[in-house]
Structure formats: C-alpha cells, structure tokens
Amino acid sequence: MRLAAQLVDLEKHYHLGEHTVKALRGVSADFPEGDYVAIMGSSGSGKSTLLNILGALDRPTMGNYILAGYDVGTMSDDELSEIRNRRIGFIFQSYNLIAQNTVLENIQVPMLYRRDARRISAADEHRCLDLAAKVGLGDRLDHRPFQLSGGQQQRVAIARALVNDPEIILADEPTGNLDSATEKDIMNLLSALNDEGRTIIIVTHETSVARRAKRQIVMKDGLIERDGMLLTEDGK
C-alpha cells in the first residue's frame, strides 16, 4: 500500500527566550493512501502542531516528514506553498472564509495560486460550480460568508479544500463550532470524500467524530500514546 504521508521521529521545539517548549518529542506514523485518521488527545498535547506540520504550514525541528515521496522538512517557503496548494486541503474550526468574497470566489481562491494555471478557465469555473452543488450550496453562489450559517460556511470551506484535487484533507476540529445535527452532515460529507479515496486526517475532541474515522491516534505530551482502530462505528 502506498503511503500518502510518513512521519519519522518528528520533533518540534519552540524557543521562548531561554526556555524551549518541546511540542512534539519524536512522533512516527504512517498514513496510507485512502486512510481516515482522527487525532485525539488533551489540550496542549501537540495535535495542532502535528497537523500544521502535516499541512506544510510549518517545518519540523528534527526528524522527517515525507509527503508523496518528498521530504517537506528541507523545502523552501515557496515549495511549501506549492505543496499546500496542490496536495493539501485545509478545513478549519472557524471556517476561515475570506469575508469580502462570495461563496464562488472563496471556492476559487486556491486556483488563483496554482503555479501552472493561474487563470480560471471555463472548465475550472465548471468544477467550482460542481463542487458547490456537491456540498449543497449550488443556490448560494453569490452569498457572502456572513449571510451563511456555520454549517453552510464549513461546506464552502470543504468545497474550497477540494478545488485543486488534493491527496490529503486536513481538518482541525471542523465541527467544533457546530451543533450535533450539522456535525453529522459535515461528517457524512467527509466520509463520502474518504470513500472517493482521499486521505483524511482530522483533529477532534469528540468521540462521536473520532468514531467516524478508520483509525485513531491519541497524543499525550508531544508523543503518540496510542495508535490503531480504537473506536468503531457501532460504539465501544
């Protein structure tokens, strides 16, 4: 089985004056293509730090992060940008849509930063419309974020995450701000994406969310405490 991502003895240190905070202290994990992983753990255990590195927003202090065969730790800032643009789709807890843009424009943003094709072609436009329809917002294309509910905003974010057809979807507490009914809708969408073959890594506190994943990783003090099929769909 091919690996979408691989972490080898990953460490991340933050220097605060003479103090050094070790947010990650040697994390190793494999993420096969098509995997669906929930990362859990108490606050401050290093979940977000790990996700940022997986998302090429940050570089590890030590160890290696191999993404699609490239060592991300040695890449330049521009190369990291390109990785984020083509291979990663982000979904945030607070949606992070651009306030002055419409739904359609928000979905298009990652297309503007493609290295090779910065112009939005008719086919691109079509793809955005399809994605908007897929997440159930085909009739809200001209709305601005403030005109949408939280669940609708997160759907826009999902469509945006998919627009450049990335291999990995990263989500940091995507349902943290949503009620349970909406949470279910969003999680159904993510499951559907996983069924299409996309690798999904999701940070969450909720067991109801973590249960939807195929595999759970529990973090503690910058280390992986447990890794495996800890929860199943039908409870336990």
Binding site: D58, E82, R84, N96, L97, Q100, V109, Y113
Partner: protein
C-alpha cells in the same frame, strides 16, 4: 495573455478591497491627489510666468540691441559738463545724432531707429491727456512689433518735408477722441498742431525685466517724425520744478539697433559699447540693453522657480506617500487573518506582496489620476484667484502697477509633459511606500496569522 489576465485580476481584487473602505481609501488618496495637483499647477504657473517673461523680452526683439541715454548722477563731475556753462543751457547728456550715424554704419547691423521722447500734455478740444511723444523714423513699427490699425505710420517723406503729422497709440487715441474719428484731426503738442495720419493696434505693455528696463506702455504713445521733433520741440526741454527752473539737453533718448541674426547680438553689443566708450570717454551717460541677455536671465530665473516649486510639490507627494504607507500598515494588521488563509491555501510570499503592492499602486494611481484631472483645471482655478485678487485685494492705484499687471495678465501654461510624469511619480510613490507594508504582510508566520483575532 497570461500575465495580462493576472494583472487585471490583481487590479480588480485591489479595487474590491479598497472599495470595502471607501472613506478611508478616499482620504488616503487625498494626499496623492493634492501632491500631483500641486506638481502640475506649480509647473503650469512657472511655465506661464516664463512664457510671459519671454514674450515681453521677445517684444523687445531678440535680435535687437537697445542703446539708451542715461542721466548721469547729479553730483558726478562729468554730469555738470553742460550745466556749468549756465542755467540757460541746462544739463547736457546722452546719445548724440553723431552716435546714431556712427552705429548705423557698423557691420552686421540691418537697421537702426533713433528715438527722442518727452512726456508732454496733448490737447484735442477739451481733452488734455499726458502722453509720451516719440520722435522716430519709419522703421520704428517693424522693430517694436507695432502694427497699424488705421491709416499709416510715419514715412521717410514726412521727415524730409518736416511735416507736422502724428500717429496715435490705441489708448491715447481713445482718450483724445472718445467720439470722433481721429484720422485727419489735429492734436496739439506743445506749441504746434499735428495732423493724425494713423493709429496703432493695441499692444500689451512690456513690463520691467530684471529692473533694467522701465515698463513701457506703447498704447499711450504719440509718434511724430524725428526731424519734425528736432525742429518743433528741440533738444532742450525745460521743466519748472519747486520754484527752480531746470533744463536738460538731450539729442536722442534711445537708438534701437537690429542685427541680422541672434548670434550677432552679443558681439555687436560689445562693438557698440567700445564705440560709445571711445566717443563719450568717461562720461557714462549711456547704457546698452540686450533683450537676448534678458531672455537668458529670465530663463534662469524660471529654472530656479521650477526647482523651488517642484521641490515643495514633491514634499507634499512624499507626505501623501507616508499617509498611504500608514494606512496600508493598518490594513495589513487588520487583514492578518486573510493573509494567513491565503498562505494556507497556497499563496507564496510574492503573491501576498503583489496583492498589497497592487492595492497601494491602485490607490496612489487613482489619486494621481484625480490629481492630473484637477491639474488640468489649473488655468481655471488661477483665473478664479486672479478675479479675487483683482476685486478684493488690489485697489485702483496698484491695479496698474507693472507687478500686479504681470500677475493679472499671467496665464498658467500646462506642461503636457508634466501630466504623465506626475502620474508616473504617484505610481512610483505607491510602489516605494507600498513595499514595506506588503513585505510585512508576506513575511508573517502563516500559523500566527491564522490564529489572529
């Protein structure tokens, strides 16, 4: 094709962001608007003043050399030259008819007009205006760019026959003859009457330039043949002043000399000076004025003015630029989150730089464009200022002074070259003052930026 679409989209995006805060963008733009406007306006006014000065000097004739009689200082030993021979003779000074014959013979000279003038009361019926009575020859209008509106100018034949004829300036003609047709009527000057044979076209006064020429209003002149002047009025002019009687004896007040080409002007002026020094000795009762030289001086003064005015305008542009930078820094802070989002979605640092730099350039460019449009209205605005000055600042007496005339007759001339330059500078200001905020945005840590708020 590709970069064009890109640029267009970037500009479109910038417009959108700026329109999100219309008032703020508008106020920020004002600095550049007024900076660009003042650059164009100041250059236009400088250009107008210089064009005016040039016109005045050219009116004196670029190929002309003006030789003047100068009254020597009263206490100088030479000045008494004639005066010591008795009151009846009066003070004798200035250019002589023999000087004229001498200078006329110099090489490279194509024309010379001797002039004798006095200020005198003139009369027609009840009207008795004061006028400058000028004795001159037929070449006078050519050299002084005078045109005849009615009748004809003095001819050589008038001089030979010592005819009592005169040509009126447009102004004095209107004063003497408010109702009648002046042609054929007789105007009294001193003890003789002169038949009006022509009237000159109105001509704007040539104001004092560099302080060496007194302002000359050709409209109040009355021209008579030089020989007639000599015979009827004479060289000697007596004036009763504060009870004492004084007299001056002057043969010619001025000789206007014309050379063939501009390059002959300066050498010929030197020769003239040498000749007059030889004949007049140490008696410095003459002066040589070279309009071409004045033209050069006027041009230098214009350059100085342009530099000074341009610098002031440049300062206001820089102030405008600082205003833009200030606002852009605030904008960058305000949009930290957006920057983080864009970076997470794949924007490179250069993309962020481009985004914010485009915004400053659009802001400055739009300001520059408005400034250029306002600059185009400079002549109109200046007319308004002239109207205010004429109606509320100047009183009747000062209105006719050469200085205020210079102001009220001045027309700003927009230097078309200054429009694209001023616009280009405003865009440049946008780039210079936009780079720092744009880089500040691009070098933010994307994770920090995403966490902002």
């Amino acid at each position: 094709m590709l970069p064009f679409g890109n640029t267009f989209r970037a500009i479109n995006l910038a417009f959108k962001s700026l329109l999100l805060h219309k008032l703020r963008s508008g106020l920020t733009m004002l600095g550049i608007v007024f900076g660009v406007f003042s650059v164009i306006a100041m250059l236009a006014i400088g250009e107008g003043a210089s064009a005016q000065a040039q016109q005045q000097v050219l009116a004196l004739g670029a190929t002309n050399i003006i030789v003047l009689s100068v009254k020597p200082p009263a206490d100088s030993a030479q000045a008494g030259g004639g005066g010591s021979r008795g009151r009846s003779f009066g003070l004798q000074y200035g250019l002589l008819r023999s000087d004229y014959r001498l200078l006329r013979g110099l090489p490279s000279i194509v024309g010379a007009v001797p002039i004798r003038e006095i200020f005198s009361e003139t009369r027609y019926l009840q009207k008795t205006p004061n006028a400058r009575v000028v004795g001159c020859t037929s070449q006078y209008p050519d050299m002084n760019h005078l045109t005849i509106q009615q009748g004809r100018f003095i001819a050589d034949a008038d001089e030979d026959k010592l005819l009592n004829v005169c040509v009126l300036g447009a102004g004095i003609a209107a004063e003497l003859f408010p109702f009648d047709d002046p042609l054929g009527k007789a105007v009294q000057i001193k003890s003789y009457r002169y038949e009006v044979i022509g009237i000159t076209q109105e001509r704007t006064a040539s104001a004092a330039i560099g302080g060496s020429m007194s302002g000359q209003d050709y409209n109040k002149d009355i021209y008579i043949p030089l020989k007639t002047f000599q015979v009827r009025i004479g060289d000697r002019v007596a004036t009763a002043q504060a009870g004492s009687f004084s007299a001056e004896q002057v043969e010619l007040n001025q000789i206007t000399i014309q050379v063939r080409e501009q390059k002959d002007v300066l050498p010929t002026a030197e020769v003239i000076k040498e000749s007059l020094t030889r004949t007049h000795g140490t008696k410095k009762d003459w002066d040589v004025i070279v309009p071409l030289e004045l033209l050069r001086q006027a041009d230098q003064i214009r350059q100085i003015f342009n530099i000074v005015l341009g610098s002031i305008a440049a300062i206001s542009l820089v102030v405008g630029g600082i205003g833009i930078m200030n606002i852009m820094l605030a904008t960058v802070t305000e949009r930290t989150r957006e920057i983080g989002i864009r970076r997470a979605l794949g924007a490179r640092r250069s993309d962020i730089v481009q985004q914010f730099l485009t915004e400053t350039i659009v802001l400055a460019g739009a300001g520059g464009l408005i400034g250029v449009l306002m600059g185009l209205a400079t002549p109109l605005a200046f007319e308004g200022i002239q109207w205010i000055v004429e109606h509320f600042v100047l009183d009747a007496a000062t209105q006719n002074s050469p200085l205020s005339k210079m102001f009220t007759d001045m027309h700003p001339k927009i230097n078309w070259f200054s429009l694209p330059v001023a616009f280009g500078i405003s865009v440049g200001i946008g780039i210079i003052f936009g780079i720092y905020p744009a880089r500040a945005a691009a070098y933010m840590d994307p994770i920090e930026a995403l966490r902002h708020e």
